[in-house]
């Protein structure tokens, strides 16, 4: 624990900032304005990367949870926790940017679009995960229960998605404009999208590393406090 906490990736935040700056520039200036949707379409460059990062984060929670149960290394629990927190932040971004985009384009804030609805349920599942953690005090038991949540919650994602998709398609719904596939995007939009994706992923990694670092310090503080009380 004495080693430099910045570790071998001290340059990561700097790189992230650079990529982020480029991505913002690309989103606003390089990418052309969408002919149909106009400027609101640019929120797409935040919305899509956030969604990707959120799903990636929950996948990491799943992986770290399995690893924790297999090896009982407290650090895997800390990483799962950090990923879940960052994941919920990006998931929240998805849920905020979705309606902001939908309002000018579809005319309503919320349409119960299948993908957005799945994300909403996912958000609830992982807020539940964080609440479970918050209401438990015994660190080892908390780690175990949270890991169970992290595994079961993630396994549930495809089933949730399938059910919501069917729920929407087996139901009459207003005609929804669907943007064409990725292939239809002009090059300038590709640059913006992929640079944002990279920037958000790096940002996520920074968040998780920082959060895990803070949590490790928290553990040390709690242990030191307990040791002092014991005399």
């Amino acid at each position: 624990m004495r080693r430099n906490e910045r570790g071998a990736f001290g340059w990561l935040p700097v790189l992230t900032l650079c990529v982020l700056a480029f991505a913002i520039f690309a989103d606003l200036f390089i990418a052309g304005t969408d002919r149909l949707q106009g400027p609101p379409q640019r929120i797409f460059y935040i919305h899509v990367p956030s969604a990707w990062v959120a799903y990636f984060a929950f996948f990491l929670v799943f992986i770290f949870s399995i690893r924790y149960l297999a090896k009982r290394n407290p650090d895997d629990d800390i990483r799962a926790h950090a990923s879940a927190e960052a994941g919920v932040v990006f998931c929240t971004l998805v849920l905020i940017t979705g309606p902001i985009w939908a309002r000018p384009v579809w005319g309503v804030w919320w349409t119960w679009d299948a993908r957005l609805t799945t994300t909403l349920i996912l958000w609830m599942i992982y807020v539940g995960y964080l609440m479970l953690r918050a209401y438990m005090t015994e660190p080892e038991q908390r780690a175990r229960f949270a890991a169970v949540m992290g595994i079961v919650g993630f396994l549930n994602v495809p089933v949730v998605h399938m059910s919501v998709e069917w729920w929407r398609t087996l139901h009459p719904k207003p005609v929804v404009m669907r943007s064409g596939g990725l292939r239809d995007l002009p090059d300038s939009m590709h640059v913006a999208l992929w640079s944002s994706l990279l920037a958000f992923t790096l940002l996520f990694v920074c968040f998780v590393r920082k959060r895990a670092q803070i949590e490790r310090l928290n553990v040390r503080v709690e242990e030191a406090r307990a040791a002092r009380e014991d005399g």
Binding site: R72, T137, E138, P139, E140, V219, E222, E223, R225, A226, A227, D230, G231
Partner: protein, 234 residues
């Protein structure tokens, strides 16, 4: 042989057990002494496989405590681990099935244990209406129902009247006549420890601070070990 090898266990942010080494052979009875919070209960639960050690290992006949090995261990914990709404007999039938005890065998065991514990007349009463003494007897029956080789007893006599204590002691005597058990029990009562155990161990702050055979030990020595630690930490 039941061994704890370098066992540490974290509970909350504390180390409830710290680098603890202990071994008990068949036919031997070990008394664990220590103040509240010294780690006695944690140690007993760890030996029973109910808690996993954070570091180190617990071994029974050289093997880690697997699920199957739990069938060879009987734990009497602070909590009664009995369903209040069921009768004593129904509780025992339930646990017999969890421990995979044949029905015939269970009935013989229940008769034998109930006779010695003098609880026959209360067997068909719900646990809810039983006094503390009878609950403890029922819990004792649950602990011994599957003929464990290792018997772990957490404060078996606390809060009981003399009659109940006598009944429990007679059951412990009875089972020791039947085969070579490994018995570990915790207690506050020094004289009880000397009366029943072959070996005495004192826990303080999750560490073993004193361990000696009864023949080479005296109540004064044990009290001294207690006081030394209490004085050092205050």
């Amino acid at each position: 042989m039941l061994e704890a090898i370098g066992v540490s266990r974290r509970y909350g942010w504390r180390w409830a057990l710290k680098d603890l080494n202990l071994s008990v052979s068949p036919g031997e009875t070990l008394a664990l002494l220590g103040k509240n919070g010294s780690g006695k209960t944690t140690l007993l639960k760890t030996l029973a496989g109910l808690l996993k050690p954070t570091q180190g290992a617990v071994r029974l006949s050289g093997q880690p405590i697997s699920r199957e090995a739990k069938g060879r261990i009987g734990l009497l914990s602070h909590e009664p681990m009995l369903y209040e709404g069921l009768t004593v007999r129904e509780n025992l039938e339930y646990f017999a099935r969890l421990f995979d005890v044949e029905r015939e065998e269970m009935l013989t065991r229940v008769d034998l244990l109930a006779g010695t514990l003098e609880i026959e007349e209360r067997l068909d009463e719900p646990v809810r209406v039983l006094s503390q003494g009878f609950r403890q007897r029922a819990a004792f029956m649950r602990t011994l129902l599957h003929t464990p080789e290792v018997v772990l007893l957490d404060e078996p006599f606390s809060g009981l009247d003399t009659n109940a204590v006598q009944r429990l002691e007679s059951v412990i005597d009875l089972m020791r006549d039947l085969r070579e058990y490994i018995v570990v029990f915790t207690t506050h009562d020094l004289s009880k420890a000397f009366e029943m155990a072959e070996r005495i161990a004192v826990l303080a702050g999750g560490r073993l601070v004193y361990e000696e055979d009864v023949e080479n030990s005296s109540e004064e020595d044990v009290s001294a070990a207690f006081d030394e630690y209490a004085g050092g930490s205050a």
